[in-house]
């Protein structure tokens, strides 16, 4: 077996770009949803909870098709975004990132919600009696104490994004250099006779990236645990 080719490195770079953008864009949305579900009681909460979890239980192909309906060029959100900010999803890497983000959202929300629920509300009350507004109490108490969950959620989301296949290929197809991420490239190589070594290389890179993400997040969580001396 030889070193990966230039094309294969391009696939890795594209996959990393898609996954990192997906996680960064989803992070604040997921945290906001996690906070709402953990701390607020409002009408429609059960429906929101179900909607967030939908990508986890639907066949990914169905999620990809729904994304196509909503964010396709003639879909309501897709049409509006193209007209107003010139953002196009279909057949673009941005679409791959959107598909990865939607698939990663439920996992990120679950991890963050657990860690927000674990933050003792009585500490927030104590902060309020000490003169903190609700917003300051959130920034200084809830957010830092739930940080391990944010990191765990980001790692899970990143790993899920790297592995995303069904929704991506349905929504943005399998275009080399644009939407062909690692799983799609491996799938494509498997269809070609004699490309076994390429499959092996790409598969090994996938494993290495996932393990690296796992180790990095473990290290980050442990570091923040140690420094903050707070056991969740």
């Amino acid at each position: 077996m030889t070193w990966p080719t230039v094309d294969e490195w391009g696939i890795v770079v594209l996959s990393l770009k898609v996954s990192i953008v997906a996680v960064l864009v989803t992070l604040p949305v997921a945290y906001g949803l996690a906070w709402l579900l953990a701390r607020r009681r409002f009408p429609g909460r059960v429906l929101l909870d179900a909607a967030v979890h939908l990508p986890l239980v639907l066949p990914p192909v169905v999620t990809g098709w729904v994304l196509l309906l909503i964010f396709g060029r003639t879909g309501p959100a897709g049409h509006w975004l193209e007209q107003t900010v010139g953002l196009v999803f279909v057949f673009r890497w941005t679409g791959a990132a959107l598909a990865a983000a939607v698939m990663a959202l439920p996992l990120m929300v679950r991890a963050m919600r657990l860690s927000i629920e674990a933050v003792d509300r009585r500490l927030v009350e104590a902060a309020r009696t000490l003169g903190a507004t609700p917003w300051r109490a959130f920034l200084t108490i809830t957010l830092p104490l739930s940080l391990p969950g944010v990191l765990a959620g980001a790692m899970l989301g990143f790993a899920r994004s790297l592995g995303e296949f069904g929704a991506t290929i349905t929504f943005v197809s399998n275009i080399p250099g644009e939407t062909q991420t690692l799983p799609l490239a491996i799938y494509t190589a498997l269809q070609v006779p004699g490309a076994e070594s390429s499959v092996t290389r790409l598969a090994l890179i996938s494993v290495a990236l996932s393990v690296a993400a796992l180790v990095l997040s473990e290290w980050l969580v442990r570091r923040s645990h140690g420094r903050r001396a707070h056991v969740l």
Binding site: L123, R128, T129, G131, T140, L145, A229
Partner: protein
């Protein structure tokens, strides 16, 4: 009048009435467990919202259903020392003390408070590594540094050995006499209540 409280509030399953009206600097609240003493302190601090009536402390109206006054906790300026202390686990002792610190507090800085409380050597520790008596003093210091208009002390002597309890009682005496803040104290300890309080109200 230091405390003028006449409220009806929901504590657990039942509705309770409480009337506290006293000019004494330190007012004690006693009564059996489950009498709603902590809930009453939460009402005064603005943490318990299911109530009617009025709460005035040192002439300031914190809550009055009829006048439509209901100050949020951060504007009531209560120095609340919780029974479970509620030190912030991710902040050092110094950072806990500094959290609500205001320039009008009796001390110029958290460092001065550390000296007054006799816990200067603990500034860089995290709450998980404090003894019960040390943590209690940090909680009292944190409340006082926020320049409160009054203090709410919930069972400040529980889980302390007699020597530590005596230290805390002396500290409360100093706060009462030197700082002159109105104090509402919940306690089971009859001897300390006798020694500290200018007036005692019983909830049952």
């Amino acid at each position: 009048m230091s405390f003028d409280v006449a409220i009806r509030y929901a504590a657990g399953e039942r509705e309770r009435d409480a009337t506290i009206s006293s000019a004494a600097k330190l007012v004690a609240l006693t009564g059996p467990s489950g009498a709603g003493k902590t809930t009453l302190l939460n009402c005064v601090a603005g943490l318990h919202r299911r109530l009617s009536g009025h709460i005035r402390v040192g002439g300031e109206t914190l809550f009055d259903r009829e006048l439509g006054v209901d100050l949020p906790p951060e504007r009531r300026r209560a120095g609340y020392v919780f029974q479970d202390l509620r030190l912030f686990p991710h902040k050092t002792v110094a950072a806990n003390l500094a959290y609500g610190a205001r320039p009008e507090s009796p001390w110029k800085s958290p460092a001065e408070a550390l000296d007054f409380l006799g816990i200067g050597h603990l500034a860089r520790r995290y709450p998980a590594r404090l003894s019960g008596g040390e943590a209690k003093r940090v909680a009292i210091g944190r409340a006082l540094l926020s320049a409160p208009r009054f203090l709410l002390l919930d069972e400040p002597l529980t889980s302390l050995d007699p020597a530590r309890a005596e230290e805390i009682v002396r500290l409360i005496e100093r706060i009462r006499d030197e700082l002159g803040l109105p104090i509402l104290l919940v306690s089971h300890a009859a001897a300390e209540v006798e020694r500290l309080a200018g007036a005692t109200f019983v909830l049952d």
